[in-house]
């Protein structure tokens, strides 16, 4: 089974940890991303995750392969939740087992950081105000507009 997975059901960490248990491993590090009730000053009531699964699975597997290569670990897993999530639910789970703790911590950190930046997953926040927004998309579109106008206005400064 692939080491990077999407789940449309709630993520249960216990069986995932079981999968990684191995007699050669003396250390296990895991990271869980949870749904939090606030973001950037707004009260968040729930989240919606969506992914381009075909490409996402491939990119996620690539990240895990990179982590194994880079930190010399062989047992790593990442599961990302999709669909509607309430507060306190697990959005993402990363686990790494290794002979020693140091490489387990480092590989775990690498995987979560790269997944956030590279895997085509999108998050929509729903706010207590009734508003909602795609994280990293709505504001950056607005910023780009003002940035463009700004660039044109100052394309060339002459005395």
């Amino acid at each position: 089974m692939s080491r990077f997975r999407f789940s449309h059901e709630p993520v249960d960490p216990a069986p995932l940890r079981e999968e990684l248990l191995h007699p050669t491993c003396g250390g296990f590090a895991s990271f869980e991303g949870w749904v939090r009730d606030h973001n950037e000053g707004q009260a968040v009531t729930r989240l919606e995750y969506e992914a381009f699964e075909q490409l996402g699975l491939r990119e996620g597997e690539k990240i895990i392969a990179e982590a194994c290569e880079r930190f010399g670990v062989s047992r790593a897993l990442c599961v990302h939740r999709l669909g509607d999530l309430g507060l306190r639910e697990v959005a993402v789970w990363v686990g790494v087992a290794a002979p020693h703790r140091d490489e387990a911590f480092r590989a775990c950190r690498y995987i979560i950081d790269e997944v956030k930046h590279r895997v085509p997953i999108w998050k929509k926040e729903h706010y207590a105000s009734g508003d909602s927004g795609w994280v990293n998309c709505e504001r950056c579109a607005a910023d780009a507009h003002s940035h463009e106008a700004h660039e044109h206005a100052h394309a060339h400064v002459h005395d």
Partner: protein
Amino acid sequence: MSAPLYGLVLAGGRSTRMGSDKAAIRYGDRTQLERAADLLRAVTHETFVSVRPDQVSDPLRARFPQIVDTGDIEGPAAGIHAAQLARPDAAWLVVACDLPYLTAATISHLLAHRDPSRVATAYRSSHDGLPEPLCAVYEPAAGPALQQFLSTGRNCPRKFLINSDTLLLTQPDPETLENVNTPVELALARQRVEPATEKRAIRVQYYALLREQAGRRDESVETAARTPVELFRELSNRHHFTLQPAMLKVAVNAQFQDWTHPLASGDVVVFIPPVAGG
């Protein structure tokens, strides 16, 4: 009486952002350099190509009468200055080679409104209203004036025109002097200036904000777009996307690809908004 008019095509740039020699870029059956030289030949006594010393024997440039940069001036002012030194009594119609939307009509309009009693006649930029120095007529009086300007250590031709007695004209078409510096801009320019090619059948899938703005998860399009950037522009006009290509990535058949990757019928294209996993 106005001074005889000579043409100068500036083709000495280093094309750093394009990653390949801009003068050699083809639109249809002509290189940009040939296209610009043809436009100038039609309206001048003689047209020259401005080159750096190391470009003299470049096959593309060797076919044209050349004016070689002298001294250690950087940028387009070097070419203009060299031309003025070569023919001090001439007026120079100077044009950059990387203006794919430049037409004979834009040149005629400039010449029809040229005022030989001024130092130069130029168009106003559609972006900031300042002079566009690389599609302009420099009268003989501009020679000594530019020499003086360069001697103070400055070399920006735009700044030279701002500080000179320049007649500024409004462009008949505001996009005519848009230049092309990157492969993405080039793909868009090709779509506009080359005749439409055969249509391709492309499947487009939408996610997240783009899905909401398009009002659908996917659609099939018959399009003349040759690259994802052209396709995005076409779809953006239709669906009013708020995201710009610079903020997106693109996947073709579930692989990340460049914005200028050639599209083929049957391809599945996904535009990827900024991601936010975790």
